[in-house]
């Protein structure tokens, strides 16, 4: 994991990740030797058909799952060897999830939904209030702070989810089909917010099957049968020195 300071810091680095599910008689190889380096402030789209292993890859990057083999360094720490409680802490501090189905707690107010990660992170009340209000303002919902999720539209709910994801200033925002349940106009709004966050320096990983959504990213990684099929850089502004394999692919695509 060679870090070249004058270029960019590597945020996460996957090295020969395998994930095998034991389905009784046969073993399913969801991921086969996936290696990736992702740098700070990259905007990445992970694409692939269903069964390509993109969900599995997302779960591993999100520290919801551990790889069967290989090393996963997140902010310099080997996450692959961590205990469940350590993984909770990593998810809490480093990862901000945005789900297709929003996954807000229906009984709790917008404010409480957004402050939830900080509660589990042990942040005192006063700071929680400040950060949560800040995050809610960033997604433009400061007038809905006391509302319940069922009083909001789908787009607004997804904004709450984004506020929740970014409130703890995570290393990565991991958005799994963030516009999947929205119409194209609201979907566009949500992508607009993600673009803004990226412009402000946030590392974002999108998981999607829509080409249109993937267009927002500056690098598109395609998976097929548990392997990286292609790793294309749309524009080089965010690029870091990546492993030779992906350089090769980038070169192949542009020629």
């Amino acid at each position: 994991m060679a870090v070249i300071p004058e270029i960019k810091e590597t945020t996460l680095s996957l090295n020969a990740i395998d994930k095998t599910y034991d389905m009784g008689v046969e073993q399913v190889h969801a991921l086969r030797g996936v290696s990736l380096d992702i740098c700070r402030n990259e905007y990445i789209a992970i694409m692939g058909a269903s069964g390509s292993g993109k969900s599995t890859l997302m779960n591993i990057i999100g520290c919801l799952d551990s790889p069967s083999a290989g090393a996963y360094y997140l902010e310099g720490e080997n996450v692959a060897a961590m205990s469940e409680n350590q993984l909770s802490e990593i998810r809490n501090r480093q990862i901000g999830f945005v789900f297709q189905t929003f996954n807000l707690i229906a009984r709790a107010s917008i404010f409480h939904n957004v402050e939830l990660p900080m509660i589990y992170g042990g942040i005192p009340r006063g700071e929680r209030r400040r950060y949560a209000e800040e995050a809610i303002t960033r997604v433009g919902l400061n007038d809905r702070i006391k509302h319940k999720p069922n009083e909001l539209s789908g787009g607004q709910r997804q904004r709450v989810a984004i506020a929740r994801a970014l409130v703890f200033n995570p290393s990565i925002i991991l958005a799994d089909e963030p516009t999947g349940n929205l119409d194209s106009r609201t979907g566009g709004e949500i992508m607009g917010i993600l673009d803004e966050l990226h412009a402000a320096g946030q590392t974002i990983i999108l998981v999607t099957h829509e080409e249109e959504i993937a267009q927002h990213a500056s690098r598109v990684i395609r998976l097929k049968d548990g392997e990286v099929e292609s790793d294309l850089r749309v524009d080089d502004t965010d690029a870091c020195i990546a492993p030779s394999e992906s350089l090769h692919l980038v070169g192949g695509a542009t020629s």
């Binding site: 919801l64 809490n92 996954n103 009984r107 709790a108 990660p117 589990y120 042990g122």
Partner: protein, 413 residues
């Protein structure tokens, strides 16, 4: 800090969850309410019985030893006791002189006779022949008139002191003093009325209010010839309750001497104490309490199963929420506590309602059946029991929730 916040969040979500499902919560608490009412009432009833028992013997001094031919509570074949030689007046006087200055000895004899005043008759009244020393043996004193005096005993006076119930039955509102009552075939002049002592716990047990006391000498004269043999009971009062044990040894030693027992022979008399009676009562109460608590535990168990069931529902319907919480950093313990709090709350709520309900029922019991009151200890027990049921019943569902795989949980429909 992190753990404290976890707990606060768990607490808050638990309350939210209960508030969101009021009807379900109310129905679930019902089982716990019934269980807690059963616990509180069982304990309260046991306390009430014990108090009633103590009260009915309050007139019997706890520092008095009773020496009799037979024990109050027979652990052996009745005929083994029956064949013992009776204690006669001569032995009573001997013990009295041996213990002179160390303890007060008061002999007494009892018979049942009809008591008659003019046209009023009370059947089978307990007639006690004793001496003026009876006054040392209990806290009872005459309400009007006087008690026996030494000269009543010495001169075999035909006088009597009556209990409060006797006065009521025979004299009504009339003044009984100096009236003649017929006890069996002999007439006695009423010289005093004892103050009310309160009823007896046992239906046929000693009831001082339904008793007539006469000089022991007059008793022997009036009723002694009938069976030929007298069987005297002796009350021995120790100078203090601390010296009771010593006095008991002394009494046993002297009685063995007086009755000329060889060292190898067993005592052929019985030492009776209020303590023995209380012990026996407590043993009996223990069994009653045990059965009561067994029934109670069954109802609590049923209530607990209800809570467990609802908690499984609660965990299942919030599977996605659990997944989300885990995704944003909740540990297993956070989830575990969230659901444990919820079930503990439901049960605590049931417990508190149960306590209020039992307090109301206790007031009714107090007014109708027997003196009863809910003590602080019982309240503490009720709260602890309901919390315990909550935690125990909630544990398996909460643990299952805590163990959920976040990926599976997030995908749950």
């Amino acid at each position: 800090m992190r753990f404290a916040l976890d707990l606060i969040e768990s607490f808050r979500m638990a309350i939210d969850a209960i508030r969101a499902n009021k009807a379900r919560g109310a129905l679930t608490t019902l089982g716990i309410i019934i269980g807690i009412v059963a616990v509180v009432l069982t304990l309260t009833a046991a306390n009430g019985l014990r108090d009633t028992f103590r009260q009915s013997f309050s007139a019997v001094g706890s520092d008095v030893i009773y020496v009799s031919q037979m024990p109050w509570i027979m652990m052996d074949d009745f005929f083994n006791y029956r064949n013992r030689p009776p204690i006669d007046l001569k032995q009573a006087r001997e013990l009295e002189s041996k213990l002179q200055g160390r303890a007060i000895v008061n002999p007494y004899l009892g018979e049942r006779r009809d008591a008659k005043y003019r046209s009023e008759i009370m059947e089978g009244v307990q007639i006690i022949g004793t001496t003026e020393k009876q006054l040392h043996m209990s806290s009872a004193v005459p309400a009007t008139g006087r008690f026996l005096q030494p000269f009543d005993v010495t001169y075999k006076k035909q006088v009597c002191v009556i209990g409060s119930e006797i006065r009521e039955a025979l004299f009504g509102s009339a003044n009984p003093l100096n009236q003649m009552v017929k006890l069996g075939r002999t007439e006695f002049r009423v010289i005093g009325v004892m103050e009310e002592q309160g009823g007896s716990f046992f239906g046929d047990g000693p009831n001082f209010d339904r008793q007539i006391t006469i000089p022991i000498s007059s008793f022997v004269k009036a009723y002694g010839g009938r069976h030929g043999r007298l069987n005297v009971d002796l009350a021995v009062k120790a100078p203090s309750s601390e010296s009771m044990e010593m006095v008991e040894y002394m009494v046993i030693g002297e009685m063995r001497n007086i009755r000329k027992l060889r060292p190898t022979e067993d005592d052929d008399f019985a030492i009776n104490k209020l303590d023995t009676l209380i012990d026996t009562f407590n043993n009996m109460m223990g069994v009653v309490l045990l059965v009561g608590l067994l029934v109670t535990s069954i109802s609590l168990f049923v209530g607990g199963v209800g809570v467990m069931n609802i908690m499984f529902v609660s965990v299942t319907e919030r599977t996605r929420e659990i997944g989300l919480r885990k995704a944003v950093g909740a540990r297993r313990s956070s989830i575990l506590f969230q659901f444990l709090f919820e079930s503990a709350f439901i049960c605590l709520l049931g417990g508190l309602i149960g306590i209020l309900l039992s307090a109301a029922l206790t007031a009714v019991i107090n007014a109708t059946l027997m003196p009863a009151s809910v003590s602080v200890l019982i309240l503490v027990i009720a709260v602890v029991v309901s919390l315990t049921v909550g935690v125990v019943a909630g544990f398996v569902p909460a643990y299952r929730g805590a163990r959920l795989d976040p990926i599976e949980a997030l995908r749950y429909e």
